[in-house]
């Protein structure tokens, strides 16, 4: 559907969300570049990524976040088809998947703390916790906004505004999942290679 991706065909909520993701994408990119910049320097002071991270374990917990792209898309399709209950189920599943991802992140942070790796333990800790922390904050905000939209749908049904909101959430979750691909590659896969 080529017309679907033109500015004329995009509702203003979704267009606004696209611009928000552009802005937040630049913000996260700056933090990710800082990680890339410092991890590329030798020698490293303090703990390093190679000895600290577990890419396979993180990959398993990343799968739910990547799946939110699909579940939020299904929620949008069902909202457009006025299948409100089904759309709500897909939206709740999106929130649940995001929560599982955050639990995985929480465990990873806890394991790193056990290894005495903190934000002040060296440049790896500094950059790693800032990059993943701000990404996780964005995921958490997505969960909160998703639940607010679900509440509004429960009260007011599937009006045009709610359909646009669910479409905007699909854009947002796709952005969050996509950016996690970048972070996973730069932070975790790079550590596995090095």
């Amino acid at each position: 559907m080529p017309s679907e991706i033109s500015i004329e065909a995009t509702d203003k909520t979704t267009l606004g969300t696209l611009l928000l993701t552009l802005s937040e994408g630049v913000f996260l990119a700056m933090l990710t570049f800082a990680y890339f910049f410092f991890q590329g320097q030798k020698p490293q002071v303090g703990p390093t990524a190679a000895g600290s991270l577990e890419p396979v374990w993180t990959g398993i917990f990343s799968a739910p976040l990547w799946a939110t792209t699909y579940t939020s898309w299904r929620a949008m399709l069902n909202m457009r088809a006025r299948s409100v209950d089904t759309a709500k189920r897909w939206s709740w599943l999106t929130v649940l998947l995001a929560f599982v991802f955050l639990c995985g992140q929480g465990k990873e942070w806890s394991d790193l703390a056990d290894k005495r790796i903190t934000i002040e333990s060296g440049l790896f800790g500094t950059t790693y916790f800032m990059v993943t922390g701000f990404h996780d904050l964005h995921v958490f905000m997505g969960m909160v906004v998703s639940m607010i939209v679900l509440y509004v749908i429960a009260r007011h049904g599937a009006g045009e505004g709610q359909i646009h909101a669910v479409t905007a959430l699909w854009v947002y979750w796709t952005f969050m999942a996509s950016f996690w691909v970048v972070i996973y590659t730069v932070v975790y896969l790079w550590s596995a290679v090095s």
């Binding site: 500015i7 509702d11 203003k12 267009l15 606004g16 611009l19 928000l20 552009l22 802005s23 937040e24 630049v26 913000f27 700056m30 933090l31 800082a34 910049f37 410092f38 320097q41 490293q44 002071v45 303090g46 934000i119 002040e120 060296g122 440049l123 800790g125 500094t126 950059t127 800032m130 701000f134």
Partner: protein, 559 residues
């Protein structure tokens, strides 16, 4: 006005009265006015700080400000002028006039518009709370707060944290307004208002809003990294732990140079609106001016390193960023050429607004030329961090942006209030501003060449020409302040006693002049048909209408 075609729905928001009204309003015009009034307030505050600095520098070894107080004063002056005066006043004009110029009822997201303003306002409030709660006074590391000076060991007081939080809030508010402006321009244009027919001011605001959305995040990232270093003992900018203070400069100027264009693009838009109206000609080379704005938007991301030529850089970086810094002068030159060509053989009406516009073109060109000088690496090495830089950016930001804002204020004040600003007082203010501004800042070029560093709080008596040039600069600053006082008097006096403006006092041709002065809450009773770039001109002179396709002429149509 029976030709207007599309009915506009009435607003449905609950209207409060008194002070509560200003806290709860969602009307873009009132939020625009809030931006303008708040900016004027901070302009007065930051102007007083500037006068304090000029008094301190008027003569050698002056005892009025201590080194620490002087550092705090220039830090607050620069931060306030850039983040809480220049950017928001331009946002105020944008928020007020963009919906009117595109025939919209309001901004795309009125609540977000309100949120953006109040978050910005809170940021300014927070910055000055550092005087009370900074635990050592306000921030003192300059408006760009380079690390490691701004890091904990060197700026231990909370003032620096107030600076960070104030700018974060300012960034959130500015970005939300930027997003809102883009969506408004793309989604709320009235029927017939194609992108090619949009007024040049709206074009400039569109490019500006994209710059805001993309440029503010690097600043926000820099600030959170700085605060992580300061309060969480992280190591981004700490050399001893492998961090890089140079990274701070890269990140800051990746924001900072596009910020220069954020502070000038809407001002160019104002000049591009009023010069044609007061010359009775269409803007010369409309398409090229719009294209030049877009080109500047892109190029502004490729020049930031010219702020860092004195840091250790590989030689190719000098060449690339020197070339790009000079290249960006080309689209800027196109604009200056277009404004001049618009005036050429025009029937020029010399109002106060037009006087400010002409002075803008001359002074901005001077500021732009001294900017090109900084693209030359050896000159940059010689003059960096001297008063030559101070003179350069004041010629761009005051001689350019502030003069354009003053031109825009005299042009649009009648639309905002329904009253004309007094022309006699306006002319007195104009000459005071031109003389005061040039006395203050022109001599600073020479101070820089004679070796006076920016940010020195005093100087020895024997420095060549420093004392007389500084005295001239200080006298100029007070003349400038006096002219601003005249402006404030004019604003308040005209509000009460000014001549009635009527709907279209300048015989303008963009849509804001098609409604009453001031406009009603719903902006238009009816929206005129848009058949070209000058809808009101087309309506009044259909035989001379611009760009009209056959069958598209503004035929009388009832709604």
């Amino acid at each position: 006005m029976s030709t207007f075609t599309a009915a506009v729905p009435k607003p449905d928001s609950v209207k409060h009265h008194g002070l509560l009204h200003w806290f709860t309003t969602l009307d873009h015009k009132e939020i625009g006015k809030l931006y303008m009034v708040t900016s004027l307030f901070w302009f007065v505050v930051a102007g007083c700080l500037a006068l304090a600095m000029r008094v301190q520098l008027a003569r050698p070894n002056a005892p009025y400000l201590s080194p620490t107080t002087y550092n705090q004063t220039f830090t607050l002056h620069g931060t306030t002028m850039i983040f809480f005066v220049v950017v928001p006043v331009l946002l105020g004009f944008s928020v007020y006039f963009v919906p009117l110029m595109i025939g919209a009822r309001d901004m795309a997201f009125p609540r977000l518009n309100s949120l953006g303003y109040w978050v910005f306002a809170l940021g300014g409030f927070l910055l000055y709370m550092s005087y009370l709660f900074g635990g050592g006074g306000p921030p003192d590391a300059g408006w760009f707060s380079y690390a490691p000076l701004s890091d904990w060991p060197y700026s231990a007081a909370y003032g620096q944290d107030y600076w960070s939080l104030a700018l974060l809030l300012n960034g959130i508010g500015t970005t939300s307004t930027g997003i809102n402006l883009i969506v408004t321009i793309f989604k709320e244009r009235t029927i017939g208002m194609t992108l090619k027919r949009m007024p040049m001011f709206v074009w400039m605001v569109l490019v500006n809003a994209f710059l805001i959305v993309i440029s503010i995040p690097p600043l926000n990232a820099t600030i959170v990294m700085l605060e992580a270093d300061r309060r969480l003992n992280a190591h981004f900018f700490r050399d001893a732990f492998g961090g890089s203070p140079i990274l701070y400069q890269h990140y800051f100027w990746l924001f900072g140079h596009p910020e220069v264009y954020i502070m000038i693009l809407p001002a160019w838009g104002m000049i591009s609106e009023l010069v044609p109206v007061f010359s009775r000609k269409q803007l010369f080379g409309f398409v090229y001016v719009a294209a030049a704005s877009v080109a500047i938007g892109f190029l502004s991301y490729g020049v930031w390193v010219h702020h860092m030529f004195v840091t250790p850089l590989p030689r190719p970086m000098w060449l690339i960023f020197s070339a790009s810094s000079m290249l960006i002068a080309v689209p800027t030159g196109i604009k200056v050429f277009a404004w001049t060509a618009t005036m050429w053989r025009g029937t020029i009406r010399l109002t106060t607004s037009m006087y400010f516009a002409i002075a803008f073109v001359l002074q901005f060109t001077l500021g732009g030329l001294s900017g090109v000088m900084f693209g030359t690496v050896p000159i940059d090495w010689q003059l960096t961090d001297t008063y030559f830089v101070v003179a350069h950016f004041h010629y761009v930001l005051f001689g350019g942006t502030v003069f354009a804002v003053l031109a825009g204020l005299y042009y649009w004040y009648p639309k905002i209030t329904g009253k004309l600003l007094g022309e006699r007082l306006g002319m007195a203010q104009f000459w005071g501003t031109v003389i005061g501004f040039n006395m203050t800042f022109f001599v600073q070029h020479f101070l820089g060449i004679y070796g006076m560093r920016r940010r020195v709080y005093t100087y020895a008596p024997g420095m060549p020409y420093w004392a007389p040039l500084n005295m001239v600069s200080t006298i100029g600053a007070f003349i400038l302040a006096g002219s601003m006082l005249l402006l404030i008097i004019n604003i308040f006096r005209s509000r009460k006693h000014g001549a009635i403006a009527g709907d279209n006092p300048w015989d303008g041709w963009t849509l804001e002049w098609a409604t009453t002065s001031p406009p009603p809450e719903e902006n238009f009773k009816m929206v005129p048909p848009i058949t070209g770039r000058r809808p009101l001109w087309d309506y009044r002179h259909p035989e001379q209408a611009d760009d009209i396709n056959p069958g598209e002429a503004p035929i009388l149509r009832q709604p």
